[in-house]
Amino acid sequence: MHSLVFIKQVPDAAQVRVDYETGTLIREGVPAIINPFDTHAIEAAVQIKDKFGGSVSVLCMGPPMADEALKKALAMGADNVFLLSDRVFAGSDTLATSYALWAGAQKVIQEVGPVDIFWAGKQAIDGDTAQTGPGIATRFDVPLVTYAVDIKEVDPQARKMKIVRLLEGGTETVEVPMPCLITTEETLNHIRFAPLPYLIKAARTPVVLLNSSNTTIDASQCGLKNSPTKVKKAFTPPKRERGEMIEGSLDEIVNTVYAKIEPMLKQLGKV
């Protein structure tokens, strides 16, 4: 079984702050991490390898520094790691990104072999679009299973999988043939502590660099210029002002709050 996991390196969103003076994000000192949803995709692929044999390849598109994310993927049990890095990708929107990743994956398949399961996190915590996984599945023309919360069955002989995915207000179990593309929820699995052999392997395994010169990527389908969506403007939402602190005894506080909201309650017809 060969799994190919698509990952993204992202700034730790929980640590990004806004500079309201300049209306920009403060990214200095914010650590770069593997998109948390993607770590569950790596873990799921490694668990499949542990059970059925085979290998796990990981492909990341990003700047040269994103090789750190791939080193972490190796420590989690990945076998082959590829960094797709080229200036021609800069500014790609989701359509162009899914194209570049699809084209980069062709090279992985050429080097490592056909893929049985493609994996991606359900969305990235910086962009939050949840569009790249579905886009790649469409380009490969394989069944898409989003929001996976349980891998119920893998049958390598029949080349079928049963996967439980989230719906609004419930779940469904779907059966799909392999190859397929699965996007993962955080609750799919628990990330294990990296065992020593993986750490040793991580130190010894090189990150394979892919770019527009050693792949068949068509540069006229990626980058800012070739992305259908453009950013007209980016801005920080207006800051809500810190209001009034209500102090006093419990009775006084609750009475004051009532007096404050009474006009609104009247407007709503509740008084």
Binding site: P134, G135, E244
Partner: protein, 336 residues
Amino acid sequence: MIKQDITQYKNVWVFIEHNEGKIERVSLELLSKGAELAKDLGCEVCAFTVGDKVEQFAKEVGEYGAKKFYIIENSALKEYRTEPWRDAIVYLIDKYKPEVALVGATTLGRDLAGTVATKLSTGLTADTTALDIDPSTKNLLMTRPTFGGNLMATIFCPDNRPQMSTVRPGVFKAVKNPTKPEIIKEKYDITEDKIVKKIIEKVQTGEEKVNLSFYEVIVAGGKGMGKKENLKLLEDLANVLGGTWAVSRKVVQAGWAPQSRQVGQTGQTVHPKIYIAAGISGAVQHVAGMKSSDIIIAINTDPEAPIFEVATYGIVGDCLQVLPKMTEMFKQKLVK
């Protein structure tokens, strides 16, 4: 990138999401917003969907202003599955060429829209919270939050059609605007044996699906509620105020409440008149989902909690004491 002849594209299309014979509320919200956009563009707002027996929705989409209703009916499309629905929708869009296509940013909508847009080689803007028409270019301007709501970006799609967006539920109001829609039924051949994905089982988790955006008063609780049993205090106060209760992500993660009650980036976006945040610290992801509430009352034992930065009124105190007191006193004042 293949540039298209965008002049052939006309009308604003709204995808009608349905489940068990019922239309999702967000689709009606988008018809109302779509009608405004169509007015600015000088065209019509139309509804479209695929499935089994979907013609029955014509009356309801007409009530919310759809001038035309494009449908594909096929028993193999009864249950939602990405690939056959995608291909049927791509068929409709290829044939009728809408200039805008809006989809609710639900679990289903986000699964579907990414694959449809890729097939059509057009742009898709996710999780939009504002839609406008640029008066000079007539392009659709789609504004969305990124970085956990810390940054807003306005996106447009100048050279490709349709201009596609998924839109958050609860952002726009569904307003009745009755018309009698023309039904355009397309034949599309697909049979069950051609569909590789099979649905083995569907499980309703027994969680009632709550649309928090319906309520003008929301009493929300966070990890500071201490334990599951204490969530009853939220419900008690919400009942007195004629509202509903909600929770933060941490409460859902602790297993105290279903995800259908969660406010925030990964839950629902709400903008009630009154939002009471009890024992909620105010993580950016939560604040992104509630900061447009008219009045925010925050109760927290930690005077440094970030929730106070967005609160209209702040109370430093234990929500387990403040909430029952509010319930008791408000009851006396409100029930007359």
